[in-house]
Amino acid sequence: MNMLRDNNWVLSVGTFLPMLGVVVMMLMPKAQDQAVKFVALVTSIATLAVGIFTAMNFDFDQAEKMQFVAETKWISVIKSSYLIGVDGISLPLYLLSMVITLLVVIYSLDHLPNPGKPKAFFSLLLVLQTGMAGTFIAQDLILFFVFFELVLLPMFFLIGVWGGEQRQYASIKFFLYTMFGSALMLVAFLALFFKTGAESFSIPYLIENGGSIAKNVQIWIFAGMFVGFAVKVPMFPFHTWLPDAHTQAPTQGSVILAAVLLKLGTYGFVRIALPILPIAAREWAPYIGGLAVIGIIYGALGCLAQSDMKRLIAFSSVAHMGFVMLGISTLTSFGINAAMFGMVAHGLITGMLFFIAGSVKERYHTLEISKIGGMLTQMPRLGWIFGFCCMASLGLPGLAGFWGEFPAILSTYNPAAGLNVTVYRVFMVIAALGTVLAAAYLLWLYQRIAFGTPKNNSHDEHSAQEELHDVTTHEWLAWSPLLIGILVLGIMPNLLFSVFDPAVQVTLSVFGG
């Protein structure tokens, strides 16, 4: 594969810069809360600056090629090397992780969840950032796996320490579930390694040689990867960790989980599973599509059954990621483009919805939908932002969510050659019905929370007035990039599609299309 190796330091710096911040924080005395926050903020700004530098030097005319490629020996005994690079598929996600981390840090400056401990909290956020960014740039399966697992630990602690009442249960469930998937994934990686002659773990190498593995073996290897990635996405029926993790996680954890972590799974499908094992992918695709549409309907029904706002948003992720997986399952470049767009759009929109849920919890001290009402009267700005995000989430054209959803439905009408057209057209209709349910649960949620007259909570009048303040400066700072992103990508979807497209075309070239 053709690779560009100019400026090959930027990715390593961008990925490991947060670790430098962690080291600095570790050296600081515990009491210095403000200084810790400052270091965290500076680190994440610097990281994003490196990310923007990367994007500015990225050759968008050659988005299909790996760029900024760096390669050094790593664990030579297992022929794994430190091989990194970005192309049009990974660059937007790489940047997304940096943006989200910065916004979460800004939000945390005055929304530190109990029990405080800023030093540990910000350190974990930055470690998480390294893991996420690393996963998107890794071009070696072992490296990918290490980063993929690195993400788990900080998230586990974020949920387990700063989470809600059932944080222990949720964090362990999250951890073990993902571990279970990862174990199978690792087995699949090893099998892949040995079946391609134990030469290399490098993804470009495996893409070239993976196709020659016998069909039966491919199908089994794919199964291992499928479980690993599907748990992360999460796809029905491997999703049950998600509602618990989201509900119990602190706001910051939920935002990162929804905005970036879930994409590690879908990204894995596009980057690793599909191109390396094309024959198996074609066999698996209808089942993936089937689980995806089940997820769409099932997630929506799950939403309708919720009485907790945050849990509802968590279930909506299951439905939305269903659209992403449906796009991937078509094995067409248009479908995968839609899926990639859907990942970013879902990251912005659902991330934003979790931010709002966090602020609602902070103000009303509850997320029980029946106890909240009349938000538009009490906090008109928050109510409007919430309405905007609900509309974006239900796929209103002109906002980002639509371009992940409708193109996925459109592409399902005509899947790649060799897939059963009738089955996919049934999927299309079911997915289209899913958009109705999406409108139902989101608008119903909005109606109950924002409309009507405020409910009298048990608080005395005065303190309630004090707490129900509208959007604060920190919140504006953290939210406006997301809100602008939702609008801009909705109006100019080509900003993203043109970056994805060349890389997706190359990825799919293994399907001979």
Partner: protein, 774 residues
């Protein structure tokens, strides 16, 4: 007619165009910009942003009037049977993987007509709202949403491709939601808003599916023949008439699209949202829910007419999905209008019924009369709604209850009364009011095109329309004043329903109320007068009874079914020269468009028939209308004023009538069916069941695995670990042991324990690496 007897193709002079036609895309852009400005700066403006709204609508109106004028010139520059090319401009919005999403304008007679109507009614309604919503707590938001709505609708109307159309379509839905729920403090309003958005969204599934199907079915053909994508409206139209489409595919696509139109245009069985939408402020009902937004579905059918024409075999006669739905809608909604006490609900059901006429016309091949009915209906229905608003604003103290708070208003509100009567006569289809020229034409052509049964249904509908409007008029303007109109302003008597407009001017209006019922101010009456003048006169723009020279609208708007050869694509020299292929000698069916596969060129519009006008038929339908008025007048007088004992309480005494009445009052139990059976079951038991599966089966399996592995790990610990000291097993045991913790959420632990767990997990991973290493 010499032209058509010649055998050779004749090259015609190019059509004229002009600045307004070329720049018609500005028409929706202006309100869109105004919307952004109102949102950003509206509250700081001297008139709270309303001036931006009104000005932008005036600008759109001027632009669409200019475009209309130049379109007429363009039509005049063509020969009599020449296809007048629409003015199409398109830009690539974005493209990838071979898919191209464009943005652009498709300007022809139909789009100009609707653009003009939308801009015109929007302008008047915004002016009216200046007074009607004065002092409203969300005045700026109201104008912002109203302006955005106009922008969305205008964009939908001039869209050159299905994606832009979908964009406008959904923006309208959003604005409808925002405006119905404008006073969202009250549960009724927010529920109505939700219901409207949701019901329309159900139909939108059809739009998504239909667009996808058409794209994939048409794309290859349109790329090859017209060099446009399968989203292009022009491309899809030509493809549908090319004889190329598979009849099943195009039929399913047409049905899918029609489902979307059922939702948007309030057709049976998805009409139930529209009457509830009356919870919104009256200007909203007037603009969105009678004259413009709800005709979007009708517009879509008219816009993509070739698809429906071929897909549903419209020339075949007898019956098809569109006429059946349209016919049912006309009658069932007209029947419901009889049992309403809320004046706006009467008008809402009347709107549903009139939309049924439009659909019926389109379904039966009466394209031109149906489109003309969009035009005339917009004026008289907007006028009726604004009239109802005028009454509630100045006479009935924000009540819309005809039986309780109105009556005898003709004396105190002479202008409102006069405009109401004119519009009512137009709605009933009385000669020479505008409704006559459109509705009677629909009825006539439906019969002429072989849909005899549906002509009878339409005539029954005409009778019912006349009757329920007479009843409403009688209750409102005749008889003795009652309730608020009689000067009683009992605030405590307001229940949640009739107070739904009470927010409008809550504070400033109490001063008015004390002065009793009176005529409204100029900002309200001037729009009423303008609309009623048009309700009276607009029919003459296509006055079929007076001969062909009066059929201006047909000349300007109806696309001509002519085969077109576009020289630019067949490789000829020069700029898109339009060539007509004369076909048969028979001057009545000159074109093969829609009836057979065009041999050399491309058809953009199907060949339509027009019923020759006969005064005898018109007299018959007029007689039916007058009969309806007379019967209803006598009954209303006897029932409401004389309290005739034979009529009062009739529904209690005669069982069959009582059952029928109850059936109507409950709206055929459709709402109950949707809300209590479908929605409640999905949101209730079905969602709960799915969630139960989630918690008990899927999670149950996980918990089972966890607890059993805890048992196993305990066994391993006791029986193996204690005897064989083995690092690897030890690690996995502590690893699985912790699984047990997952099964017991109540068992709390310390962070350090999880740290230990993590390191043991990392140990496993390290071990695997070591094993491979050796």
């Amino acid at each position: 007619m010499n032209l058509f007897s010649s055998v050779d193709a004749e090259v015609l002079a190019p059509l004229t165009s002009g600045w307004f036609l070329e720049h018609a895309w500005l028409i929706p852009v202006v309100p869109a910009i105004a919307f952004a400005l109102i949102i950003l700066f509206g509250k700081r403006m001297p008139f709270k942003g309303s001036e931006l709204g009104v000005l932008s609508m005036l600008a759109s109106l001027v632009l669409s009037a200019g475009a209309g004028y130049q379109w007429i010139q363009r039509v005049n520059s063509a020969t009599e049977e020449q296809f007048v090319d629409p003015v199409i401009k398109s830009w690539t919005w974005w493209q990838n993987a071979g898919f191209e999403f464009g943005i652009g304008q498709h300007i022809d007679g139909l789009s100009i007509l609707v653009l003009f109507v939308v801009a015109f009614i929007s302008t008047l309604v915004q002016i009216y709202s200046l007074e009607y919503l004065r002092g409203d707590r969300r005045y700026t938001h109201f104008f912002a949403a109203l302006t955005l709505f106009s922008g969305g609708m205008l964009a939908m109307v001039l869209a050159d491709n299905m994606m832009l159309l979908l964009l406008g379509w959904e923006i309208m839905g959003l604005c409808s939601f925002m405006l119905i729920g404008h006073w969202w403090e009250e549960d009724v309003n927010s529920k109505a808003a939700l219901k409207a958005f949701f019901t329309v969204r159900v139909g939108d599934v059809g739009l998504l599916v239909g667009i996808s199907m058409l794209y994939f079915a048409a794309n290859d053909w349109t790329r090859e023949n017209l060099d446009v994508s399968g989203f292009s409206i022009r491309g899809i139209s030509a493809w549908a008439l090319s004889g190329e489409p598979n009849s099943t595919v195009i039929m399913i696509a047409a049905i899918a699209l029609f489902i979307a139109c059922i939702g948007k245009s309030g057709q049976f069985p998805l009409h139930t949202w529209l009457p509830d939408a009356m919870a919104g402020p009256t200007p909203v009902s007037s603009l969105l829910h009678s004259s413009t937004m709800v005709v979007a579905g009708v517009y879509l059918v008219a816009r993509l007419y070739p698809v429906f024409f071929v897909g549903l075999d419209i020339p075949g006669g007898g019956g098809n999905l569109i006429v059946i739905i349209g016919g049912i809608t006309i009658v069932i909604s007209a029947a419901l209008a009889f049992v309403q006490n809320d004046i706006k609900r009467v008008l809402a059901y009347s709107t549903v019924s009139q939309l049924g006429y439009m659909m019926l016309g389109l379904g039966a091949g009466a394209w031109m009369p149906a489109v003309f009915h969009i035009f005339t209906h917009a004026f008289f229905k907007a006028c009726l709604f604004l009239g109802a608003g005028s009454i509630s604003h100045s006479a009935s103290h924000h009540s819309f209850d005809m039986k309780r708070d109105m009556g005898g208003l003709r004396k105190v509100m002479p202008i409102t009364f006069a405009t109401w009567i004119i519009s009512t006569l137009a709605l009933c289809g009385v000669f020479p009011f505008s409704g006559f020229f459109s509705k009677d034409e629909i009825i006539d052509n439906v019969g002429h095109n072989g849909y005899g049964l549906f002509m009878i249904i339409a005539l029954i509908g005409a009778f019912m329309t006349a009757a329920y409007m007479t009843r409403a008029t009688y209750l409102t303007f005749f008889g003795k004043p009652r309730g608020a109109s009689a000067g009683h302003t009992d605030h405590s008597a307001h229940d949640a329903h009739d107070a739904h407009d009470a927010h409008a001017v809550h504070d400033s209006h109490d001063a008015h109320a004390s002065s009793g019922p009176h005529e409204s101010g100029l900002l309200i009456t001037v729009p009423l007068i303008i609309l009623s003048v048009l309700a009276l006169s607009s029919g003459f723009l296509n006055a079929t009874p007076f001969g062909e020279s009066w059929e201006r609208m047909k000349l300007w708007v109806e696309p001509r079914a002519a085969e077109v050869i576009d020289e630019t694509h067949s490789g000829g020299p020069g700029e898109s020269l339009v060539v007509i292929l004369p076909s048969a000698e028979d001057s009545h069916s000159k074109s093969v468009c829609g009836s057979a596969q065009p041999e050399k060129g491309i058809c953009y519009a199907p060949q339509l028939n027009h019923a020759p006008f006969k005064w005898l038929k018109a007299m018959m339908s007029l007689a039916i209308v007058f009969l309806g008025i007379a019967v209803s007048w006598v009954l209303s007088f006897r029932l409401f004023t004389k309290r005739d004992p034979r009529l009062v309480g009739l529904t209690q005494r005669v069982k069959i009538l009582g059952v029928g009445h109850k059936f109507l009052v409950n709206k055929y139990y459709l709402d109950d069916f949707y809300e209590k059976i479908i929605v409640r079951n999905i949101a209730g038991p079905i969602a709960s069941a799915a969630y139960w599966i989630n918690q008990n089966i899927l999670d149950g399996i996980i918990h089972k695995i966890a607890s059993s592995s805890r048992l196993i790990s305990g066994w391993v610990y006791r029986n193996i670990d204690q005897r064989v000291v083995d690092g690897a097993v030890n690690n996995s045991a502590s690893f699985t042991k912790s699984v047990g913790t997952a099964a017991q959420p109540s068992q709390s632990g310390k962070v350090s324990q999880y740290g230990a767990l993590l390191f043991s997990a990392a140990g496993v991973a390290a071990l695997v690496l070591v094993i491979i290493n050796t």
